[in-house]
Symmetry: C2
Subunit: 412 residues, 2 copies
């Protein structure tokens, strides 16, 4: 991104909570916290200060299949930040005393999430649909699991998963490819952990088919249909209904994008117009999708007064079904193509978004296409394909999760 | 921002919930919703579709002293978006039937906010410290107030506040100043509402001393000390404690920035290190500040297990006091200066952040300084000034708001 003063760099680990067993639940997220706790040459406060002094946005995130340590900083700080991130990932002390203290922080984080009705709803839905598959567990596990998690579990986790080829470094921003490679080489040498296994630029489509090998236990999940309701003393009822969707990199992903956007992707979407604009039944209503290596979920989210819950569920299903029954007009399709194209081009201005895209492409083995090619792929989607896919999804078993006051809301 | 494919444009109204009386409470935010509901030439769905088809980020926000309608879009869509925004602000139908339907949506929005413990906490704190001043009311008012709000109130509000000189258009991005002026002129002509009262570029410091005239009722608030506790069945106790701070544009604002950052502005800040890193008592702990024309609030926020509440409050006060008692080291000050400088330069890459800065400068009458000048101002802050300000603040009456389970947590 020539001319940009900033760069976003991320070190990715192709490992997430899905790779845990019931015994090691929560260890991936706990490990993410521990990496900020010190290396032989830097204590926790030094690490925090080194990130903060750049004025950038530095943090880490753990998901079900991925962990990422990242920083958006000025290019002039990139060398220091790269060394810091590589040192953290390679040489973390994983100190036992720090581990005990951090247990409290993680329990607080889980409590904060338990107080967020939206977080609870999305966790409940996954628990419902994934049965006893590891994807059913919340990323951070439960407070009880964190209370008993052993220090040795983290050490094992680190030594087995924080190794090539599961480690991917991605960067986007004002630095040149060669500059980034030089900084990474220097950082690896400083950290004493060998050299890069390979590298490529964004325009050389070197993503391996199948992505990073050795990821996760490859037990493919199956969708469980059902209904869950976590009773909470809230004003709104949170609603999430859905079915099995498309996995990451599915060949029909462009049709899927159009469908998600047309049904519930903006203020002109069918759900927004029908539920909020025409009837005033909800403030938030939209489509959601999770994508994993071998599985995806398709869903509709809404929050509303409990008395309106059944009406919102019925309307959501009716709009979904209408898309399946009637092929949308060319005009509506063109508007969605325009929306997705504009959004892609606007996204190119964010070094963080581009860094993310590079890493996901590498990890999941999805060829990295140029923006113009992507727009071409969206343009080639037909209205019939969108309608057919809506029908396919509609024919699948569904689940419904609710969080909030008691309510007789069901899928019917 | 030459070379950028995008532009962020905002139409600002120097009016917010502060300008309401008890009878008209909620009308500013309601009006913001109604502007999306149609003009003589565009119905609500057409407006929504016109924003969505750009793929950009378009929305509106109402605050206590400001309302803003904005869009980040491609420069190629800017002319259409400018016309749309100008038409919405100037010629809204404010249809009575749409008004009734939107009442339900707003009540849902308030219910959603009531389910967010953080939102409740910040609203409670303002209610506590502002007494019967209009700043005490939540921006959207209460559900009961929305249920009885009259349609004529919105019409009055629109005709008295959506007029020059309270209207400011600000833009930042890839379009040139002349291009933006041309688009705004065309949009005003199309909307049949006269022409621009004046314009200037970011590097000509034309902000009027005192800012946009005619803003708000000029009754200066006074700080009320006290304690509030909204009992909620949550796992965490939300804590917000604070005192009167500095208003928007205060001459000592650079000292204030250093203080806020040093005490609670990042993972290396004193509060984060003391409360989270050294003791593991909270996940989130940081400083917060609200700034209005004639008043500001300084606060410390934390969320923790109720049993740890008193310890967290005591530690927060102790860290605040330590900053007042001991002048910080040159090293610590330098790190904060570096952090603030880096953050400013990184912020320059966001057209949205720059548009915001331009508008606030104009509305509040704060001279717009170049980034280098701003960095120079931060560099000139001394450690003594920071410590003295911490002491000044510490000497002021304080308040404490809590949201969560019953707990004997007090300021002491």
């Amino acid at each position: 991104m020539p001319g940009l003063a900033s760069e976003t760099i991320g070190i990715w680990v192709a490992a997430g909570s899905r790779d845990e067993s019931t015994e090691t639940a929560g260890s991936t997220h706990f490990l993410e916290h521990m990496l900020f706790k010190g290396t032989p040459t830097k204590d926790a406060k030094t690490i925090a200060a080194a990130f903060d002094r750049t004025g950038g946005d530095s943090n880490a995130i753990t998901a079900k299949e991925l962990t990422c340590y990242y920083s958006r900083c000025l290019v002039t700080d990139l060398s220091d930040i790269t060394s810091l991130l590589v040192d953290m990932v390679s040489n973390s002390n994983l100190d036992a005393e720090e581990f005990e203290r951090e247990r409290g922080v993680i329990i607080e984080e889980l409590a904060m999430s338990a107080d967020d009705p939206g977080d609870v709803l999305f966790d409940d839905f996954d628990e419902l649909i994934f049965g006893d598959h590891p994807l059913a567990r919340p990323v951070g596990a439960t407070k009880d699991q964190i209370r008993v998690l052993g220090h040795h579990t983290l050490l094992d986790h680190h030594s087995t998963t924080y190794v090539p080829p599961r480690l991917v470094i991605a960067a986007a921003g004002g630095a040149t490819h060669e500059e980034v490679l030089g900084m990474v080489d220097d950082a690896l040498a400083q950290a004493g952990v060998g050299s890069q296994a390979g590298s490529h630029t964004w325009d050389s489509p070197a993503a391996t088919a199948g992505g990073v090998p050795g990821r996760g236990a490859r037990e493919v999940p199956t969708f469980h249909s059902g209904r869950s309701h976590t009773v909470k003393d809230t004003e709104q009822l949170g609603i999430l209904l859905g079915c099995e969707g498309l996995e990451e990199g599915h060949p029909d992903r462009f049709v899927y994008s159009v469908l998600l956007t047309m049904l519930g992707g903006g203020m002109s979407s069918r759900l927004f117009q029908s539920v909020r604009e025409e009837r005033g039944l909800a403030y938030a209503v939209n489509c959601v999708a999770s994508q994993f290596t071998d599985f995806g979920t398709f869903g509709i989210y809404a929050g509303c007064t409990p008395e309106n819950g059944q009406a919102v569920v019925d309307l959501a299903l009716a709009e979904w079904d209408r898309l399946a029954q009637e092929v949308p007009s060319r005009t509506e399709l063109d508007a969605i193509v325009s929306q997705l194209s504009g959004s892609m081009i606007l996204g190119l201005e964010s070094s963080a978004a581009r860094m993310n895209r590079l890493a996901r492409s590498e990890i999941f083995g999805i060829p990295l296409e140029s923006p113009l090619d992507l727009i071409e792929r969206v343009r080639s989607v037909t209205a019939e394909q969108v309608s057919t896919m809506a029908g396919d999804l509609m024919g699948r078993p569904k689940s419904l999760s609710l969080v909030g006051p008691q309510a007789d809301v069901v899928l019917r």
